[in-house]
Amino acid sequence: MKKHQFDVIVIGAGGAGLMAALYASKTANTAVISKLYPTRSHTGTAQGGVGAALANEEEDHWEWHTFDSVKGSDYLGDQDAIEFMCYEAVQAVYELEHYGLPFSRTPEGKIAQRPFGGHTNNETGKPVRRACYAADRTGHMILQTLYQQCLKNNVNFYDEFQVVDLLVVNGAAAGVVAIELGTSELHVFHAKSVIFATGGHGRVWDITSNAYAYTGDGIAIPMRHGIPMEDMEFFQFHPTGIYKLGILITEGVRGEGGVLINGKGERFMERYAPKVKDLASRDVISRAMYLEMKAGNGINGQNYLYLDVRPETVNKYAALDGRRRPDGSPYTMTGEEIIAKLPDIVDFARTYLGVDPVAQPMPVQPTAHYTMGGIPTNKYGEAVSDENNTVMPGLYAAGEVACVSVHGANRLGTNSLLDLIVFGKHAGLRAAEYALGADFQPLPEDPTEFTRAQFDRIRNAQGNEKILEISSTMKTVMMDSVGMFRTGDGMQSALETVRELRERYKHIPLHDQGMVFNTELINIWELGNLLEIAELTTVCALARTESRGAHARDDYPKRDDVNWLKHSLAWVKPNGEIELRYKPVVITKFQPKERVY
């Protein structure tokens, strides 16, 4: 066992982790621990843009962005935090540009912006160009730029180290335990501040846009230490995943004028969202797609629809919508312009679908995409440990793993990249500030005891269960019963299945008993995280007897503000039982009203 000591430890090297590290390392001795090389992080797959009301292409205001995000959240987002994020967004995006991020440009040389779902001109209700983009690889450019700046500023990195436990002493974070993947050696990182920036857990579901690495480590680890998780029932399905594979096709395709078409050749979103149509929020579109397919309106009656971005289609519907360019001329697109604005989408479609999107429509279906819930924090990234928002000393979270909550029941597109940079920065600043004024907590006498027990159980498991069979059963049942539409009966049955799977999980034999890059060992541990999260998600979803944002129940189809305008907090007790409590939503300016797009 090796020991290290830092003021601040950041777990995860995506956008939030790197932003936190960049800021914390200005004043505090900081290290980033990541299970992947930093440039492999899932932030890199984000495509369409980062939201900020720069008003480079047309009138826009951060207050409009705030209202759109509140409405998008189905009024479950905390309005003080959303205001903070949307206000900070403008400077945060300029800051990325100053770090060298190669944004696409307007003819005046400013950062280019495109429309995205749910982002509107609050006066007309029409889509507004708010998503600041770098072609269709905005996340890639954010990840690269932040990693490069970390290198420039000599941030310490522990690449390919899997964090497996959080050390909590005297009610405060005291460090983490990690496994060096190359050697299986255990490392104890003693720290004053620990920032979780580990991303989400979309691998719980069958059709997902999420990376293999997205196994919810940053949820599972703290929840084993009695830290509650907030709003775990809310998980976003993105409308346009590549059929069967789930690979993301950015909402930017629809921002550029692409439309969804059903098996009858109809642009069906006109019926569900008359004002913004294909640029409604993701929960609204995914549900509309589900209903279309259920009604037999899938393509050839199958479970997919078309995303059509052929120039003739784009131009036809742009003319019907009366869409105009910033200079007032009618909006039109050529095939070349589509390829230039969406090069990666064209490449994905050609590679994985054998479809040229300039000539043919793309088969798509909703795909599990984003974790709205997570470690409860305040707007400074400080983890809070109860319904009174009591700050837990030394523990921070930022990005997808955190629940501030700025996304509430449904996140708007482009607000995840924004969340990373705004709250990554503030978590880094707060963590460093706290570390400089605090003493180290003593380490536990045997800091790796819990870790060794966990991994000894995996190494010594007896039986003939298979990891792929357990994971695929979990994914299927969660997709079918705890996915886009939910019912009490379906979820109850899913819960029983997941609990059975958790028993069967204990009987997966470990074939690889080696120490060098034991990926089988890590994969089994990660599956354990996913199973625990699947159970937690289902319990939270069963309890919430209403429909709100991404949580849609056939048996409770209406939003219920009288009883459910509140965040859930879920604790896993030492005996495995899950306890639910609730805390109020922060409402400042916007009283809840019906959501119409």
């Binding site: 100053h98 440009r105 990376a211 890059f517 089988e520």
Partner: protein
């Protein structure tokens, strides 16, 4: 259809030297080589070790040598390989640690050596620095790089000496050298003018042919050579 997948195996804790294992499995034409490796690991041999994450060609984890050419395993579909026999080996020129996992340290050290970060110490304006569409387009191609190492580990010059910076590091430098906002061009060109720098490239084009991001790497290297010779960036 049934396919035969022959996989390079090496377990440093047991094997004195590497060997190959052959697996037969059913696969669809649209299956990725990564899907097949996952299947083999799940059903035939849990010890098979490889890196992967996003599984759609963006994170750059799963560069491998497939039927003698570098690919990302998640971007190599069975139908595009035109063969029912597939050989999967680790990328060349880096030390094999276990099975398909190689030691990436030298690769990243080369990347880090070319100042792969934006430099401009002038105080920024309150809003964005302006850059024309044409100026932005000038270095667009090399911003696509995902550091997968397909290029560098397909280069015979790199195989001969890992002191050579390799195509990826030159691509990384190119992205900043041709960025109108960056101010460290002179220093970067000095680094690339080193004996293990840009002149080691013999325009073999392996890098360009296998780049999963379709970056015109050899051209980018040529542009850097020209910038060194002329002292001009345009």
């Amino acid at each position: 259809m049934q396919v035969t997948v022959k996989v390079f195996r090496f377990n440093p804790e047991k094997d004195k030297k590497p060997h190959y294992e052959t697996y037969k499995l059913d696969a669809q034409p649209t299956d990725r080589v990564l899907d097949m490796l996952e299947y083999i690991k799940g059903y035939f041999d849990g010890t098979l070790s490889f890196r992967r994450s996003c599984a759609h060609g963006i994170c750059g984890s799963d560069a491998m040598r497939i039927n003698g050419r570098n690919y990302l395993a998640c971007k190599a579909l069975l139908k595009d390989l035109h063969s029912k026999k597939i050989t999967v080996e680790p990328i060349l020129g880096l030390k094999v640690i276990k099975d398909l996992i190689v030691d990436m340290e030298q690769f990243f050290a080369n990347y880090k050596s070319v100042m792969p970060y934006f430099v401009n110490d002038e105080p920024p304006p309150p809003q964005e620095r302006l850059q024309s569409i044409e100026e932005r387009e000038r270095f667009d191609d090399t911003t696509k790089c995902i550091l997968c190492a397909c290029c560098t580990t397909s280069c015979p010059i790199f195989w001969a000496s890992d002191q050579y910076l390799g195509p990826q590091a030159i691509v990384a430098a190119h992205r900043f050298i041709f960025d109108s906002r960056d101010k460290a061009t002179v220093e970067r060109l000095r680094i690339l003018n080193d004996q293990f720098g840009v002149y080691r490239c013999h325009t073999i084009f392996n890098c360009t042919e296998c780049c999963p991001r379709e970056i015109e790497i050899t051209q980018a290297i040529g542009e850097v050579k020209a910038a060194i010779i002329t002292g001009r960036v345009d």
